[in-house]
């Protein structure tokens, strides 16, 4: 092989200001440089941590609908829904849907067995496999790998599992820079927002918003066509692909019989992230395992159709292991982190089928509530119908137990689901679960009241107490209620309690006439 020493003008687009090799190696992110100029405009949507105390649903939805851009997002999502779902499943995909549904349920019948086989195969292929019970455990595993590998800069391809772990915030807390490289993820990272959709993280952003964001990042006006903006991101991210010490990705499918990890993307960033840095960490939630490599023939086209109406995405990356001795590139280490986060306790229960999900995001697009309020209104990692079902079931997000109420129960999510998860039934059952739990103190209050008003004495006592004490209370008192009570009280005021019992005396007077 020959080599040219002089400048290479036709490769000018790939020029990096400082060399990616040697001692002067710059290990800070180029893509994020200028990030400090960006002022996040939607702190409620911040990615770092979802507020421990979520606002009550009526407030969340009201705020979401009031956000600038919600109507435009609704219009875009509705167009996508019409294009994707109005004509139903084409016959060849309908056949894959039947087969895919079976494969996913077959997986759940022996999930632990397939995970065991996956672990054995992957380890035999040279992959280091880690099991993590909680998102915190998983984040610690990744941090440890980073610390042992002297990692300063991480490039990342999109992964919902790492969103469950709030991994970026965790690594940044250790002084490690993390750069999202999927264009949509890069956009929401710069804006410091959570992804609003499973496969289209920046679907809620208009081109104008993205343009303004990139202007702030660049510190100057840059060309604003979609192509220009993508080219700007490409240039900045290319530098980081070369500089990064570690790449982090999700996993779409992990084949138990071969240990093959498959990633489905359109931009090529996952290929960069898995091939350029010296360490690759793949993070999967445990239900991503599939029985056989050959199942990819069914599940990949099914996922591609449901997610983006493509026959196949541009890139399918299939990884068996790290770089081998005789190979010129690829990561020296490949780690697989398998995250549970409460999923193994869903197996065998009434909601087991939710783990059949292949994360296409089509139920979100099909959902009229999701399209109207947007993904952030759910206040959780996963929005839309799948999020409303999954969030209450996962270990670290059980406070989202009221999310099943954020649905019209129209059933569109079932029709849109490539693996036929009965989401509408689950939403109804989860509502019943919620009521049977949350209603207990309320039922006690009703019972006390009934006991009191069972006797004329008890009734008169409450009336007198209200007439005397009621006027002493400020009418805005209910607005001081903490927590969920605050949501209930919005727009409400105490009745004029000085009048308590007045109706009865008035009525008694009328009768006397």
């Amino acid at each position: 092989m020959t080599s040219t020493d002089g400048p290479v003008p036709d490769a000018a687009t790939t020029t990096v200001p400082d060399s990616a090799s040697g001692e002067s190696r710059n290990r800070r992110s180029a893509a994020l440089s200028g990030r400090e100029r960006i002022v996040p405009t939607r702190p409620d949507w911040a990615a770092a941590a979802i507020p421990a105390h979520r606002k009550p649903l009526p407030i969340l939805t009201r705020d979401a609908i009031g956000q600038a851009g919600t109507t435009a997002t609704h219009t875009r999502l509705s167009g996508k829904n019409r294009a994707q779902n109005d004509s139903g499943w084409p016959p060849e995909i309908a056949a894959l849907r039947e087969r895919g549904s079976q494969i996913r349920r077959e997986t759940l019948e022996d999930l632990e067995g397939y995970l065991h086989s996956l672990t054995e195969k992957a380890e035999a292929n040279g992959v280091v496999v880690h099991r993590a019970a909680t998102p915190e455990d998983a984040a610690r595993v990744v941090s440890r790998i980073a610390a042992e590998g002297d990692v300063k800069l991480v490039v990342k391809a999109k992964s919902m599992a790492t969103e469950e772990m709030h991994l970026n915030a965790h690594l940044e807390g250790q002084g490690i820079e993390v750069v999202e490289t999927d264009l949509g993820e890069y956009i929401v990272q710069l804006a410091d927002e959570r992804p609003s959709h499973i496969v289209g993280p920046a679907l809620h952003k208009s081109q104008v918003e993205v343009g303004a964001l990139f202007n702030e990042l660049a510190g100057q006006q840059i060309p604003q066509e979609a192509e220009d903006l993508a080219a700007f991101a490409r240039e900045r991210l290319r530098t980081d692909f070369r500089r990064a010490d570690m790449g982090i990705t999700g996993v779409n499918f992990a084949a138990a019989d071969t240990g093959t990890l498959t990633l489905v993307t359109n931009e090529g960033n996952a290929d960069m992230v898995t091939s350029q840095p010296r360490i690759h960490v793949a993070v999967m939630t445990l239900e991503k395992v599939i029985p056989r490599f050959r199942d990819l023939a069914v599940l990949v086209p099914l996922l591609c159709h449901a997610a983006t109406a493509q026959k196949l995405t541009v890139y399918l990356t299939m990884l068996n292991g790290p770089r081998r001795k005789d190979e010129a590139d690829g990561p020296e280490q490949l780690h697989l982190v398998i995250l549970d986060n409460g999923r193994s306790s869903i197996v065998g229960g009434p909601y087991e089928e939710v783990l059949a999900c292949i994360r296409c995001g089509n139920c979100q697009i099909a959902c009229p509530v999701y399209r109207t309020v947007g993904g952030h209104a759910y206040g959780s990692v996963y929005g839309g119908p799948i999020g409303a079902v999954l969030t209450p079931l996962l270990e670290n997000t059980r406070d989202g137990a009221d999310l099943p109420f954020l649905s019209s129960l129209c059933g569109a999510c079932y029709d849109a689901c490539p693996v036929k998860i009965p989401l509408p039934d689950m939403l109804v059952d989860l509502r019943a679960d919620y009521e049977s739990r949350a209603a207990r103190p309320r039922r006690l209050l009703w019972r006390l009241w009934a006991r009191l008003w069972d006797s004329p004495v008890g009734f008169r006592l409450t009336v007198i107490a209200l007439r005397v004490l009621g006027p002493l209370l400020p009418r805005a008192l209910v607005r001081l209620l903490p927590g969920p009570g605050k949501g209930w009280a919005t727009g409400r005021a105490l009745p004029a309690m000085g009048n308590a019992g007045r109706f009865r005396s008035w009525f008694a007077g009328r009768r006397a006439l």
Partner: protein, 173 residues
């Protein structure tokens, strides 16, 4: 279906994705076409693939894929129905070659064409020993992350050229 039919089907599928298919009548013509496509540009080539043999000395090679304008590869199989290229990694078959340079040129003799994606999965499943990894490429890199507008060439190559040609000594699959 004959190799020519598959080639026509492949060309239609790739063209629909903004890729470019070149149909040649012989291996020699195919190599000439690759040299034309690369012109004076800097090139990285996968020399570990039999279908690229003899091409390297006719191209202006560089060592670093990041310095190259074009990456030239062979393929394991190509899928007629979808216009997909299947590349496995190994000695002289780098992950970066079809990925890092802005233009990817692939050589596909007709006997490497299969009809469907499922056929390609069968071929990959049968590979023994299994490679360290594989990449399936269906057209130029794209994104719709900015207001769902389709943009080409985001991280992977924005241009994909596939040069198809018959090899008389090899039967079509």
């Amino acid at each position: 279906m004959s190799g020519i039919d598959l080639a026509e089907q492949f060309r239609a599928a790739l063209t629909a994705l903004d890729g470019v298919a070149h149909l040649c009548t012989s291996a020699a013509e195919a190599h000439d076409r690759v040299v034309d496509l690369c012109a004076a540009a800097s090139v990285v080539i996968d020399e570990g693939h039999p279908d690229t043999a003899g091409l390297a000395e006719r191209l202006r090679l560089v060592d670093d894929p990041w310095e190259a304008a074009v990456g030239v590869t062979g393929v394991d199989v190509a899928v007629a129905e979808t216009g997909t290229l299947v590349l496995s990694w190994g000695p002289g078959r780098r992950r970066s070659t079809p990925l890092v340079p802005p233009v990817h040129v692939a050589l596909v003799p007709l006997h490497r064409l299969v009809a469907t994606y499922a056929d390609a999965i069968d071929v990959l499943a049968a590979m023994n020993p299994a490679p360290s990894g594989m990449q399936l490429v269906t057209g130029p890199s794209q994104s719709a992350d900015i207001e769902m507008k389709l943009v080409k060439g985001v991280h992977g190559p924005g241009q994909v050229h596939v040069v198809l040609y018959p090899q008389p000594d090899r039967a079509c699959t």
